[in-house]
Amino acid sequence: MITRRLYRSLDERVGSTPLLRKSLVKVFPDHWTFMFGEIALYSFVTLVLTGVFLTLFFEPSTAEQVYRGGYEALSGSRVSSAFASTVALSYDVRAGLLFRQAHHWSALLFVAAIVLHLSRIFFTGAFRRPREINWVVGVTMLALALLNGFTGYSMPDDLLSGIGLRIIYSVVLSIPVAGSWLAMLLFGGEFPTAQLLPRLYISHVLLVPAAFAALISVHLVIIVVQKHTQFPGPGRRDRNVVGSRFWPAYTLRSVSLLLGVLAVAFALGGLVQINPIWIYGPFNPAKATSPAQPDWYVAWGDGALRLFPPADFRIFGRLVPSPFWPSVGLGTITFLLLYAWPWLERWRTGDRAFHHVLERPRERPGRVAVGAYALTFFAVLLVAAADDIIARLTRVPVTALVTALRIAILVLPVAAAVIAYLITNALRRSTGSGVTELTREDMRAGLTPHRARHPAGREPPLVPPPDQVVQMWRNPAGTWRWRWRGPGEELLSNEAYLSRDEALTAARVAFAGVRLEQVRPPAGVPLPPPRHRHPAATRAAGVTGWLALFLLGRRRRPGPPDGPPAEPGEEPPEDPGERAREPAARE
């Protein structure tokens, strides 16, 4: 009751109803792999929530103090304020350790979800036109996630992260020509410096999160504008979206996923210890510890540094130290390739068409091979980063392990790519639905290379498919509805229409070229009639609105604040609007 009145008064002032109506019936396709991005989003939410709590107690300063606190084994030691306040967060602040650990776990989860999301986008071709911008935004967010993860890991000024910072300092130094200047610029002097910690802090809690907030908004707005992609399936076209409405079905799913992410982050935070800096001890340049690894998402750099042979080159008389290649070199190449991938693939396939229906991975054996190569490559690097722990647990000498991994980094990715190519190619030719259903003939067929070029952006010709039909009927209340029927499947429009024409237009946009027939209303509860205004009036109002905007624009001056751009419901005609099929205005 109160909600309704509150909403009415809000609506009178800002006119939010059309926007809300549109967004509430927004349709999202259902597939479990579409949830990875949401997991990342909700990990970010968890990170912000827990991070705000942590900033209340953390002191980003290297000023020394004598530790007096709950952890007795440090009592009386001289430690930095950053370290002391982090130990205090773990031992003296109520629920501090829970929040610290939940924060760290959700950071690991955040990057893991981003990587899975990226893999899903990659293997299903969701980055294809028109979604290149969102691909670029997403890759940027991956880079920012790595950066922010590392700064957060380094802030407590403990021994383990101090070693990591020293490695980063050396990596920056290894950049030819500019290295020492960059290191001075970033670290404010020779490592370790007192200036570094405040810099890490402000970038970790303000700059990068702000950039994240902006990029996430852009990412989501683009998704809403461009609509979500969907897997191919019965009734799914480039011009429609089959799934659940935002309200209530998808909202419920999304909220339960948020709760699931929170549950996992806090369950891990409460039950599994992470980053016990009181055991690592305070950082001191004279000390070292082993094993020493960074968090998993930067461990590939560590692994590459461990595997790369100590080879210094001279290029144009300038020394390029060996740490440059596996760290800065590898990172730059990786991200450049990631950024460029949509254009690289377009250049290779010549496919410039707009796509809203995803490809199954098997349709592109070459892409799957590239993805398998990259994933295996980085997996081997992650294993290499843990070589001392593996050596200790298996009693294999470290040197032998490094030699084996050096061979593996060259051989395994290629092998994985070849196997992935053969399997996907065989799958493409088989009728089976999965790897387990592959036959010997399929595998033999898979040996011949995949040559089929994409049909250069042309939609399939609109021959009426014999086994599909769109049925329309008139409800007893006088409204109209329709449904699509295919072999073994049926999709119901989730909106009722005031007139037959309106329903007809919507059905034709969603399922162009499919035979239409009018039938008797089936049993079931009909939808209430839509409450939007008469189409003719809407159109007239829309035209007026556009005209007003146009005139205002011609004046080249911001118009008076009471200028009448558009009243509620005066939206320009974007019929047939968002329906269950969401027949969008796509060309």
Binding site: A73, A112, L271, T289
Partner: protein, 286 residues
């Protein structure tokens, strides 16, 4: 020899000459006499030196004939001759390519190696591993007494656990991170060294064993003698290691205290798998 001897030598010879020849008149002797004289003096000096050595040195012959061993050491010798002699040789002198000499290693080394089960070794390998000890405490002490009496060497202080009463744990932690963490790891879980060698986990080690290890530097470990880490500092380090051993991890399950490697595994195997099942449950495969 003949031409212009140094002043000191001349005086020395003059003194001997005076003893022999009270007349003191310098008289030229024949060359043969001089030679004979020198020969006699050389033989006498040799006999004197040999006799003195035989009398004062820890006798070789006397040890074999009448072993001056205490009762405990005798028991230890019996155990040694049964279980250790094949590699360390009779009288712990060592056997080439099998086992080193134990003369001078001291009782501390024996107590460490035997009490942790490293000795006797099961086979020749890069490094002896900790295993259930073969000898009980009494036998270990007897073996230690035997080796101690055989060749001397560093000994454990009487009661190591009692030294921990006044130890400074946080100073021990500092010393641990400077001296020990680079091999044994921040959490005392051990670490890998080159060529298949390793720094073992400190979790099962007793205070006396840690003290013995620092004092004697077993296997690949350097010796931390009393001039590097004083007994008090050793006690501090032991106190810190005991804290590490006894610490209940306040954050929950500690994932083996391996650091970010197991944490990364956990987020994929536990966190991500749980959420993927959640997503499958929520969204399905429609």
């Amino acid at each position: 020899m003949t031409s212009s001897p140094p002043a000191g030598a001349g005086r020395h010879r003059g003194l001997l000459a005076r003893l022999r020849r009270p007349t003191g008149a310098p008289r030229r002797r024949s060359r043969a006499r001089r030679r004979l004289n020198a020969g006699i003096r050389l033989v006498a000096a040799l006999v004197l030196a040999g006799g003195a050595y035989a009398a004062f040195a820890p006798g070789i012959s006397s040890a074999e004939d009448t072993p001056q061993l205490s009762t405990a050491a005798k028991e230890g010798k019996a155990l040694f001759d049964k279980s250790c002699i094949s590699c360390h040789g009779p009288n712990a002198q060592g056997v080439t390519d099998r086992g080193p000499s134990l003369l001078g290693v001291g009782s501390a080394a024996v107590e460490f190696q035997v009490a942790t089960g490293r000795m006797p070794m099961a086979r020749q390998e890069a490094q002896a591993e900790r295993k259930p000890p073969v000898f009980n405490d009494d036998q270990t002490r007897q073996l230690a007494a035997y080796i101690q009496e055989l060749g001397g060497g560093p000994q454990l202080p009487g009661d190591v656990p009692a030294m921990l009463a006044g130890a400074n744990t946080s100073k021990g932690g500092e010393l641990y991170r400077i001296n020990c963490a680079s091999c044994h790891g921040f959490g005392g879980g051990g670490g890998a060294l080159s060529s298949g060698k390793f720094a073992p986990s400190l979790m099962p080690a007793s205070p006396a064993q840690i003290y013995g290890a620092m004092l004697t530097g077993p296997q690949n470990m350097p010796v931390f003698g009393d001039n590097q880490l004083s007994p008090q500092e050793k006690a501090d380090v032991i106190s810190y290691v005991v804290t590490l051993q006894q610490q209940k991890d306040p954050g929950g399950f500690n994932l083996g205290r391996f650091g970010p490697v197991t944490e990364g595994l956990a987020i994929f195997l536990v966190g991500m798998v749980a959420l993927i099942f959640t997503a499958l449950w929520i969204a399905g495969k429609s």
